[in-house]
Symmetry: C2
Subunit: 419 residues, 2 copies
């Protein structure tokens, strides 16, 4: 029996998406006269994605399905996630112009978003697996997180508006539950939907499940994830949510958006850069041994953090208008040293959060339900197991010896020491 | 021009409150046949409070006014705060039985709550000013905070229900704004509505406004107040919100309820015990020099904390059912040491939060809009100024040297050293 859906909803097909778009005058004029070409390209876990091209332009249509696409109808999921995706863009869009796709239209009955089609962008993860470099991507994502989080935080937004946002996104519970379970719980317990490179990682998976201090650290971060409303966060900001060219970078797919800890987005991207780093030897070919790509990837760690930190502090200094750290408490020059020290203290806290969440996001990709192509596409099982083991070693350091990490260079040194 | 109010609302009078109650069959039978006596006793800052007695029983009626009673109609305030008060009782009531008044009825159109009339209870603050001891009060309030906060936290409540609560209470913005401004901002800036014992404390008030590190610490705590949803907190848990007899203790007036940091409630009560301690010499009389009351008050500090800490950990060990620290991650005996270490680590964090918020709550009562009768009722100006100065000295230690405080005994030692 198919899952029931609300009246007005039907899942789109290559043909019905044309009728859907043809009924929207703005989109019709953007595409130009028919015929249009349609390609369904959703390769993520959750949605239908259509690329529609006409003689005058192109759009992308992303529609929620009433279940988790990667799991099938046995795992229902509310259609409303597309509401939260477009609501997230509504909150951050003006602040991250050029770093996210432009949204043209949202259809609340069809749970479908019509947005900019990015071309010739590819998914950053795929590009890294192919051995490419993206010179501006780490900086752009750091800048993106700084802007999206600052402008939705209590530093920038009066509490009335902030709490309205908190109330709205608190309803994105189905997707918050996915993160709570798949990211913070499943890898640390026996669970049918878990998998890992077996038998090679059987021992390590058992170690993780039996490691009390590791589980305590994971749970502490999970508690923070559930009980912090520091900013509107993307909620799933890995390299598969970033589309790139050599000169352009866009952050996509914010359906997991919620008010949460900024470090969760920072940690997601950091973890995925580091997983790419550890995976590279497994993708070496005669043409490209990846020996240069590995140091380049580690160089992106300080680039990413500095881009975030510098922009976040600059915005906080110049554009604070929220109820946290009220501007008129620090208006005298004699207050500035304490204010600046407090900004640095805040950055140190965000750095520590990033480290912890990066550890969490790594472990879930190796022992949980959703894995990374970075490792999955390594054909040599021993090489794959080694890459995954190395990533887990660093993740455990992040979680169990966080005091070792206070600068991006500390991360680089530890990663080099392992990989 | 009177403030506009929604249709169906009228502020109650000694006569109309009788008609209001007479229309409620349950209340009518609780009170017995008329005539009933009515006394309006609201001496707080915000509301009308009627004590209504009949031959068979008694009730208390608390009704929102469309403005801040202590300030007049020039300071409007949404009537909806009574909704949040009864919603708070709805969430915590069953968990704090015997420690809060029972709610009998809520009228959403009149913004009026009909509840248990506590008798012969008096406001704890008034009792302490009169020189009384309440042997069980500190333990009871510690127990209350442990129960109310645990059972509304991610430790106890699945995230779906928790986030529903967060969404609901995020609308209590008018009262959240009062706290954000009056508690976390005003004492640290020039503001018309501020006042203090002048000229005696003029210098200290100026010092506070010019103290960059103090303002940074206050703002850090204000940021936490705005961006933590650790539990449903009372939001105004000072000794004026506690009613006592020698054997019974009830927590009242949760209209500032919100999802926030547990330490905010802990710190409010601690600060008010300590302010009572510093104020006692100012209330000394020939009959009662208060020399014994002071050490008794300090003894309540460890009693309060231990009652909170022990109950909180016991509930967490026995009744955790939330998405933070998932129970099945720590079910093996080999996991227990790490889990217990994590509980202690959490308590240490809550203790640190308590210390910080206690500092904040002290400073706002001495330099802000709303003052404490503990100090206000000291007739000798020099004695009052000295008591307030001592309280501020401890508050500054709490905010600027928090590392000195890791146990309740550290608080006692510091208070003795000052007072």
């Amino acid at each position: 029996m198919p899952l029931s859906t609300p009246p007005g909803y039907r899942s789109l097909s290559d043909t019905s998406v044309v009728d859907f778009l043809a009924a929207l005058p703005d989109i019709r004029s953007r595409l130009g006269s028919q015929p249009w070409t349609v390609r369904e390209v959703g390769d993520g876990n959750l949605n239908l994605v259509f690329l529609v091209n006409g003689p005058a332009g192109a759009v992308c249509v992303k529609q929620s399905l009433p279940y988790v696409r990667a799991a099938g109808e046995s795992w229902p999921l509310p259609l409303e996630r597309s509401y939260f995706e477009q609501a997230y863009y509504h909150h951050v869009g003006e602040h991250v112009k050029g770093l996210a796709p432009e949204v043209y239209h949202y259809d609340p009955a069809m749970f479908a978003i019509v947005m900019e089609q990015l071309s010739p962008h590819i998914i950053m993860r795929r590009g890294l697996i192919a051995g490419n470099r993206y010179p501006d991507a780490a900086r752009a994502v750091g800048e993106y997180i700084a802007r999206a989080s600052f402008f939705t935080s209590d530093l920038a937004v009066p509490l009335d508006k902030k709490f309205d946002g908190v109330a709205d996104f608190a309803r994105n519970q189905a997707l918050i539950r996915i993160t709570a379970e798949l990211v913070f719980a499943d890898p640390y317990r026996v669970m049918d939907r878990n998998r890992w490179t077996s038998p090679e990682l059987d021992g390590l998976a058992a170690d993780v499940r039996a490691d009390g201090p590791l589980k305590a650290a994971a749970s502490r971060l999970g508690h923070k994830f559930l009980s912090s409303t520091e900013a509107l966060i993307h909620g799933d900001l890995h390299t598969g949510s970033v589309m790139v060219t050599q000169t352009d970078t866009r952050v996509m797919d914010p359906e997991f958006a919620m008010y949460g800890p900024i470090g969760f987005d920072l940690g997601a991207f950091l973890a995925n850069i580091l997983m790419s780093y550890f995976s590279q030897p497994g993708h070496a070919t005669a043409d490209n041994d990846r020996r240069d790509l590995q140091p380049w990837l580690l160089e992106q760690v300080p680039v990413f953090w500095q881009a975030f930190a510098e922009r976040f502090v600059q915005l906080w200094s110049d554009l604070s208008n929220g109820d946290a750290y009220p501007k008129n408490l620090f208006s005298a020059p004699s207050d500035w040293p304490a204010f600046e020290a407090e900004q640095q203290r805040t950055l140190a806290r965000l750095f520590a959060d990033m480290i912890g969440f990066a550890g969490i996001k790594t472990i879930r990709r190796i022992f949980g339900f959703a894995h990374n192509a970075d490792f999955e596409l390594i054909e040599d099982r021993a090489a794959r197991a080694k890459a995954e083991t190395n990533a887990v070693r660093l993740a455990r350091l992040f979680l169990l010896e966080p005091e070792r990490f206070t600068t991006p260079e500390d991360i680089v040194v530890a990663a080099k020491g392992i990989g």
